[in-house]
Amino acid sequence: DAGITQSPRHKVTETGTPVTLRCHQTENHRYMYWYRQDPGHGLRLIHYSYGVKDTDKGEVSDGYSVSRSKTEDFLLTLESATSSQTSVYFCAISRDRGPDTQYFGPGTRLTVL
């Protein structure tokens, strides 16, 4: 998985609780992304980062926040989890923002009860 790890790999939580997912890369790539994958939908971008402390919203950012304090780590936080946020979350990295391949991590399966 191109030097990308995600933690935890599985999590079950209750509605209203905060949840933080972590993505860690060893490739020193500048760009990092968080996607969610749901049945019937293609991967959808939540947030992305183009450098330490530099982040921007994707198409489904409501209810999510991110932080990037180090090149290698990108955190996704659900401030107050809802059942609609039950999904599989993937982190991806790329060297550049332009036409450049994105490499994906193994994913985190999150269930919000």
Partner: protein
């Protein structure tokens, strides 16, 4: 909005046959495309990419064809093997540098 979609949700092929998986996209300004393979419980794995200034690109046992006139791309897998069983999806990037992903075609290889 932008979209890429695959033509068939499922595809079954005999081992040894060639597989063709299709994808259509909506934005004629899309300039870069990627095919991914996703096995159950794993993250998407890069297979092959193609830029819009190309019509064809070949990899190991895989070929991607891009037809910009009809906004269509295909992934051809030669001599399909059981290990090729997975979900395949395409992704397109537009000039705004965002990727749009298809929902995937589930390929089953019959021994």
């Amino acid at each position: 909005g932008e979209s890429v979609g695959l033509h068939l949700p499922t595809l079954s092929v005999q081992e040894g046959d060639n597989s063709i998986i299709n994808c259509a996209y909506s934005n004629s300004a899309s300039d870069y495309f990627i095919w991914y393979k996703q096995e159950s419980g794993k993250g998407p794995q890069f297979i092959i990419d193609i830029r819009s200034n190309m019509d064809k690109r070949q990899g190991q046992r895989v070929t991607v064809l891009l037809n910009k006139t009809v906004k269509h791309l295909s992934l051809q897998i030669a001599a399909t093997q059981p290990g090729d069983s997975a979900v395949y999806f395409c992704a397109g990037k537009n000039t705004g540098n965002q990727f749009y992903f298809g929902t995937g075609t589930s390929l089953t290889v019959i021994p």
